[in-house]
């Protein structure tokens, strides 16, 4: 393998090497000083992130099994950046006494799932896509059950692996029908011969259902709330941001390349699912008191908005989806960061507990407010532009009613995001959460998020770059 080939698949290779180094480090570090693995892991991952930004070479390897372009590299870099933020947020949690013996496992499993997602994004055949998907979900169940002595965490792990197994079965059935009717699993071959005859349409629907499980679109969302609530907060943020973002990316690539011949069919399918996902996600989010469940349902609704960009099926659509996920990473991780900081300091995670937070912890409240505004799509912050471009993409393809419904839903979502803001800034509380100092790594992560939420919105360079590498049907 020469250097050029290494550059093509550097993300996966470097990350695999990092994982293996950690595996060896875990063996050679004594039990007493296990926490030393945290800076090592974060340091190595930062190196991996920087290597990811090296100049890009497009190309395909292994006979088209693996392919990469500037678009895929950008997607992987976005995910890497998000994972770094998650790692910073989990430092305090990992240092807790009960986690001492399994610190390195957290990193090993997390990085393995990330390898899976990156292979998924770069896959050139359904076989690679499926394996990447499995690598991204099966070890994830172990992460969700990380607090295995807490019943809810273990239960969430079992729920995740059962629903993941079911969705994989559905997906695999779809892939087998695709293989049976086209005679190939390679994206470029399948893409050129795929037609809208009944069997292939059915195959697509099965495939899409399997993917919809991963992005938790309605009606495949039932596992989401329980798993998100049961998992440790940092794992939840990883699941709802990185995992969901990766699935949105791969769906984007697959829909735009492999299933481009049946674009009318999947546009109609997505129409129904987008409307139900946005509406049901929002309606359930209003009723939630637990912050994790609240963010879980809000992330379901956000996934519905992503579908709008997919339905655009033009270059604006692709650009807006990548841009939206990029913004979503910062805004949602900002919100999750505050929730996790507060939880590990005070063990409180209900909305009522946040009453009067502004008077004791003004900075955290402000960050939370900014993140929620970004999620809701209020103008000064990046979330507004993200939603705006998604709506533009859908409107450009003539889906005016859909955009209208989406705007209505954005308004509803504004209501429940503001409920949290109201609790922090206006509601009175006799026993508010006392003032505390945020630990340094979490502080860094929150600063990254705040910078991201502002910079990405104000600097058009990001959108222009995504547009220069994107493509439409």
């Amino acid at each position: 393998m020469n250097l050029e080939n290494f550059l093509i698949m550097r993300h996966e290779l470097v990350l695999t090497i990092v994982t293996l180094i950690l595996l060896i480090a875990e063996l050679s570090i004594s039990d007493k000083s296990k926490h030393k693995i945290i800076p090592i892991a974060i340091g190595l991952f930062t190196i991996n992130l920087i290597i990811g930004f090296l100049p890009t070479i497009s190309g395909s390897l292994f006979g088209g099994m693996y392919q990469t372009t500037a678009l895929q590299v950008t997607m992987k870099n976005i995910l890497n950046l998000g994972v770094l933020v998650v790692l910073f947020q989990s430092v305090k949690w990992l240092k807790e006494e009960e986690n001492k013996i399994k610190i390195s496992e957290f990193f090993l499993i997390l990085f393995s799932t990330l390898i899976g997602m990156q292979f998924m994004i770069s896959s050139g055949s359904f076989l690679m896509l499926y394996l990447g998907l499995e690598l991204a979900t099966i070890p994830m169940a172990a992460l969700v059950a990380y607090d295995r002595l807490r019943t809810k965490s273990a239960e969430a792990g079992v729920k995740l692996i059962l629903s993941a197994a079911l969705s994989s079965a559905v997906l695999l059935f779809g892939i087998s029908l695709i293989y049976g009717t086209t005679g190939s699993t390679y994206f470029n071959i399948v893409g050129s011969v795929f037609t809208s005859n009944s069997l292939q349409t059915l195959a697509f629907i099965f495939f899409f259902s399997g993917m919809a499980f991963k992005i938790s679109l309605v009606p495949f969302h039932l596992w989401t709330a329980d798993v998100y609530e049961g998992a440790p907060i940092n794992v939840t943020s990883y699941l709802s941001v990185i995992s969901k973002g990766a699935s949105a990316f791969i769906l984007l690539i697959v829909l735009f390349t492999v299933f481009k011949n049946i674009v009318e069919i999947w546009q109609n399918l997505l129409y129904v699912i987008a409307v139900s996902t946005m509406t049901i996600g929002n309606l359930f989010a209003i009723r939630q008191q637990n912050m994790k469940r609240f963010l879980a349902f809000s992330s379901i609704a956000q996934a519905g908005f992503i579908l709008l960009g997919l339905m655009g099926a033009n270059i604006t659509g692709m650009t807006s989806v990548v841009y939206f996920v990029f913004v979503y990473i910062f805004s949602n991780l900002g919100a999750f960061g505050v929730v996790s900081v507060i939880y590990y300091q005070t063990s409180k995670e209900n909305m009522d507990d946040y009453n009067g937070l502004y008077h004791t912890n003004p900075k955290l409240s402000l960050i939370m407010m900014l993140s929620l505004f970004s999620l809701a799509g209020i103008p000064p912050v990046a979330g507004f532009f993200g939603k705006f471009f998604l709506f533009t993409a859908a409107a450009a393809s003539g889906y005016y009613w859909l955009v209208f419904i989406a705007v209505l839903n954005a308004t509803i979502s504004l209501y429940y995001y503001l409920l949290v803001v109201k609790a922090m800034f206006i509601n009175k509380n006799d026993t508010p959460i006392a003032y505390f100092k945020t630990d340094t790594p979490a502080k860094i992560s929150l600063i990254i998020c705040v910078i991201g939420v502002f910079i990405v919105g104000f600097m058009s360079i990001f959108y222009q770059y995504f547009q220069s590498i994107g493509f439409g049907i």
Binding site: K102, E105, I109, A142, Y146, S198, L202
Partner: protein
């Protein structure tokens, strides 16, 4: 001619035993019928010249995994009393959706006419030698990726089972 008859016999056995897996009242019977269906599937593999796959299917599924199944069933000690009661409404909905899915599947077979036909005339295609060659040339990346998947799964399992 002979293989066509064999195909139908195996298919009947497969469909029958698969149905029995679902309809059996006792979990043990379900598991035993599952073994029968695995053997029928292995027969199909042999008809498709996938000899290695047929043997592996019997060793891994009918052998190793079924033992796990049996143990789990015995350890859980399932019987009629512990079975969760499902309401009639849920049952009706399940039957209707199941039938709709079956109709859709059968209806969509219409599209099978122009599907490409694979050539299975090469008898040695499923032998270990050819399989190994393909696995380490065309399918090298998926093969290596699978090993990462196993590594990650082992780490995850060990973590959950670790003592404090």
């Amino acid at each position: 001619m002979f293989s066509t008859i064999l195909f139908y016999i195996l298919s009947v056995i497969l469909v029958f035993s698969s149905l029995m897996v679902i309809f059996s009242r006792k979990p043990i019977n379900s598991v035993l019928f599952l073994i029968v269906s695995f053997f029928a599937i292995s027969g199909h593999y042999i008809l498709l010249n996938a000899q290695f796959l047929a043997v592996v299917n019997i060793i891994v599924y009918a052998g190793a995994i079924m033992v796990l199944f049996l143990f789990t069933v015995m350890l859980l000690n399932l019987n009629k009393e512990t079975e969760p009661k499902k309401s009639a409404l849920v049952k009706i909905i399940a039957v209707i959706t199941g039938c709709l899915l079956a109709v859709t599947l059968v209806g969509s077979l219409k599209g099978i006419d122009n599907a490409p036909v694979q050539d299975f005339s090469d008898n040695s295609i499923g032998l270990i030698k050819n399989l190994g060659k393909t696995l380490f040339t065309d399918f090298l990346v998926p093969f290596e990726l699978t090993s990462v998947l196993f590594l990650a799964s082992i780490v995850g399992t060990l973590m959950i089972g670790k003592k404090e």
